[in-house]
Amino acid sequence: MNHAAAMPLDETRPEPGFGVYNLKLGMWVFLLSEVMFFTSLIGAYVILRFAHPEQFAAPGEVLNVPLTAINTFILICSSVTMVKAFAAVERDDQKGLQLWLLATIVLGATFVGVQVYEYIHLFRDGFVPDAQAYAAGGGPLYGSTFYLMTGFHGLHVSIGVLCLIFVFIKASRGAYSPSNVGGVEIMGLYWHFVDLVWIVLFTIVYLI
């Protein structure tokens, strides 16, 4: 994003913008859009659940709550390692940066792996998004909304892992320094957002 991307604050400019560099501001703006995307999915779920409570099974009846609770913990841990990675690059600790990024990648990939494992088991039990083939507890709307929300969240985590691998490769080539933390910082913003969405989803899909 060459020359035009860098646009820091400067006291000679009476109207300097928000004092946030472009990449970071752009990521915040993009995340607002993401908020609206998940709002549409969660909103649809809330409306359908209120309209047809009989279609939704009680917590734990169909879904494996303990397994997902552990998975939630794994994802929260990955947010911690992401913070550690950012702290490392800020004090120019290249080894630490790479290590913590790698830890985040492993934890993120584990989360996706556990989710795939969960899906496979649910499919075997007849919990599928297809109304015709639906055999598990609750009704077809339960399966439809479950896979819609957790699936699109899982897609976001997967994309996040791919981006993390990209950031990791750049980091191992020494692309980041205390004066150039943008790539790591916006990666962190996205990652924490995805984590936050999961906490909401875990609560409304698995716990209540």
């Binding site: 060459n2 991307a5 860098a6 820091p8 993009f30 709002t39 409306i47 709307l141 819609l148």
Partner: protein, 599 residues
């Protein structure tokens, strides 16, 4: 991708005067360009193509409405699945009205407004060398193109293109069993989903650019109204499109994976689609019209040689309309079986929108009032916009009233209304904008005489086409009706459908005149200096067309964009870069220009 490069770097590399770059290759200049002006021109070409396509579909629709069951001239080239022997099939008619709406809204007007003017004007009017994220900008264009062609390709798949209307109401759209359209509807959904990525990428870019990259001294209330309008529009795009994306995904899985979000058979809620669609759809309406407000304010102030009347009120009205746009979506659903109490609420919020809209109209009139009006083509189109937008706005109030809407819902009254705001409104503003900023795209002026003829012809035939539709609607002619002569009460007033169709053909003919003018002026038009309209905002201090990097040196802004006929200046304009007090030799480029005749 340096995050915290120093200010010095930015100055050193950002501006053409100090920019040592070698000539980029053909591919990088014209195809995979990151220059916002080239991307604006690419969007212009793309959306004019889809505008032509949408117009062709409209002409075919008009043929069927005037002469149902008669072979269409030239219709023989269409395959038998669409129009055997040139006679349009009902299924194909459904696909035509669906795709006419889809192409015009998503692939013509929206990219013309946001893609073309957003890209062209934002960096130029805020004094920036380019967008905040030039490569993201390129991606935005190259996502829109495949989306458009995917939509176009759906005409030729088995079952034909989507036929459930541009609003794709469920359950009609949710199961191919109802329409016989399977793949066509799915391509429609995927295409709009991809276009959504394009729009969001653009919005992120525009918002970041306007916030962070304004020139020194360019405070929020010194921004031209076009920038304000495009900025607020970008916020609407950013927040509304993801709602559509979510709804499209649910509809797609209903079609393909066997979910039942919108299918009552599995407990789904068809009304949920309408809520989601219009929660996106009403902000979308303002995405299509807010940039027009900006453009029209610009050209009217320029033509009247007066400051915009009530600049702050204009800005606040844009923000108010954008905000209110989020809480009125239910007025599309009075007849959907929604709770009538809810309808009353939506009726009230909708009518409140008339207040900021009226503020804008009165301010445009106030700007013209006692002005030294130059009737150049942009002003003509701008005044055309105001007058037609008033008609569209007033018919909007009819529909906002739930009891009246019960009568006119889903009739040609609605068709008349949407065309008064989208064609009479948005498209006239687009004509104004293209003729006004043509020099900043191509370095030349459009032929003014041809533009004036085009304006007069379009304004006249436009009204002949769309005004009688109000009457047809009140007489009970249904929207999306295949054959008007099926109904005795409509067969009696068939004269009007024939009249509208002939007027529509004349309207189309005038658009070819415009297309000729556009192409001719691109290569042969009169060369324009930097400031042919003697306007104030920053783009007019750059050369026409501006070079890569836009400005010779970083502009510094001392005043607002509408200081026309100021006593500070002997000229009747003051560039925003003109320092206060230091008056003023001749402006940088006093070259007088073709203004058309004066009032």
């Amino acid at each position: 991708m340096s995050a915290t490069g120093s200010m010095k770097d930015y100055r050193m590399t950002g501006y053409a005067g100090e920019h040592h770059h070698h000539e980029p290759s053909f591919l990088r200049t014209y195809i995979f360009s990151t220059d916002h002006k080239m991307i604006a021109k690419q969007f212009l070409l793309m959306s004019l193509f889809f505008l032509l396509l949408g117009g062709t579909l409209a002409a075919m629709i008009r043929w069927q409405l005037a002469f149902p069951g008669q072979p269409m001239p030239g219709g023989g080239i269409l395959p038998d699945t669409m129009a055997p022997g040139g006679i349009i099939l009902p299924e194909f008619y459904n696909a035509m009205v669906t795709m006419h709406g889809t192409f015009m809204i998503f692939f013509a007007i929206m990219p013309l407004m946001v893609g073309v003017f957003g890209n062209l004007l934002i960096p130029l009017q805020i004094g920036a060398p380019d967008m905040a994220f030039p490569r993201l900008n390129m991606l935005s264009f190259w996502l829109a193109v495949p989306a458009g062609f995917m939509m176009l390709a759906s005409f030729w798949v088995e079952g034909g293109a989507a036929g459930a209307g541009w609003t794709a109401y469920a359950p009609l759209s949710a199961s191919g069993e109802y329409t016989g359209v399977y793949l066509g509807q799915q391509l429609w959904l995927v295409s709009l989903f991809i276009l959504g990525f394009s729009s969001i990428a653009g919005a992120v870019n525009y918002i970041t650019t306007v916030i962070n990259m304004r020139a020194a001294g360019l405070t929020w209330f010194r921004l031209p109204l076009t920038v304000w309008a495009l900025f607020v529009t970008s916020i609407l795009v950013l927040l509304a499109i993801p709602i559509l994306a979510g709804a499209l995904i649910m509809l797609l899985t209903d079609q393909t994976l066997g979910t039942t979000f919108f299918l009552p058979a599995g407990g789904g809620e068809p009304l949920l689609w309408q809520h989601l669609f219009w929660f996106f759809g009403h902000p979308e309406v303002y995405i299509l019209i807010l940039p027009a407000f900006g453009i029209v304010s610009e050209v009217i102030a320029n033509g009247a040689r007066k400051p915009v009347f009530g600049y702050h009120a204009m800005v606040l009205a844009i923000i108010a309309i954008a905000f209110l746009g989020w809480i009125v979506w239910g007025h599309h659903m009075f007849m959907s079986g929604m709770n009538p109490m809810l309808g009353t609420t939506f009726m009230l919020t909708t009518m409140i929108i008339a207040v900021p809209s009226a503020i804008k109209v009165f301010n445009w009139l106030g700007t013209l009032w006692k002005g030294n009006i130059h009737f150049h083509p942009p002003l003509l189109y701008g005044v055309g916009f105001v007058s037609l937008f008033i008609v569209g706005g007033l018919s909007g109030i009819f529909m906002a009233a739930a009891p009246v809407d019960i009568q006119i819902h889903d009739t040609y009254f609605i068709v008349a209304h949407i065309h008064y705001v989208l064609f009479g409104g948005s498209l006239f503003a687009i004509f104004a904008g293209i003729s006004f900023w043509f020099p900043k795209m191509f370095g030349r002026l459009m032929n003014q005489t041809l533009n004036q003829i085009h304006f007069a012809g379009t304004f006249l035939t436009y009204n002949l086409v769309f005004f009688p539709m109000h009457g047809l609607g009140l007489e009970g002619m249904m929207r999306r009706l295949y054959d008007t002569t099926q109904y005795a009460y409509l067969a009696e007033i068939q004269f009007w459908n024939v009249f509208i169709t002939w007027s529509a053909f004349a309207l189309v003919a005038f658009q070819f005149l415009w297309a000729f003018n556009f192409l001719w002026s691109m290569w042969k038009g009169e060369k324009a200096g930097p400031n042919p309209w003697r306007a104030n905002s920053l783009e007019w201090s750059a050369p026409s067309p501006p070079p890569h990097g836009n400005f010779e040196r970083m502009p510094v802004v001392y005043r607002g964009p509408y200081e026309y006929s100021s006593p500070e200046s002997e000229e009747d304009f003051l560039l925003q870069t003109e320092p206060p007090g230091a008056r003023p030799g001749p402006a940088p480029d006093p070259e007088p220009i073709a203004h058309g005749e004066e009032a």
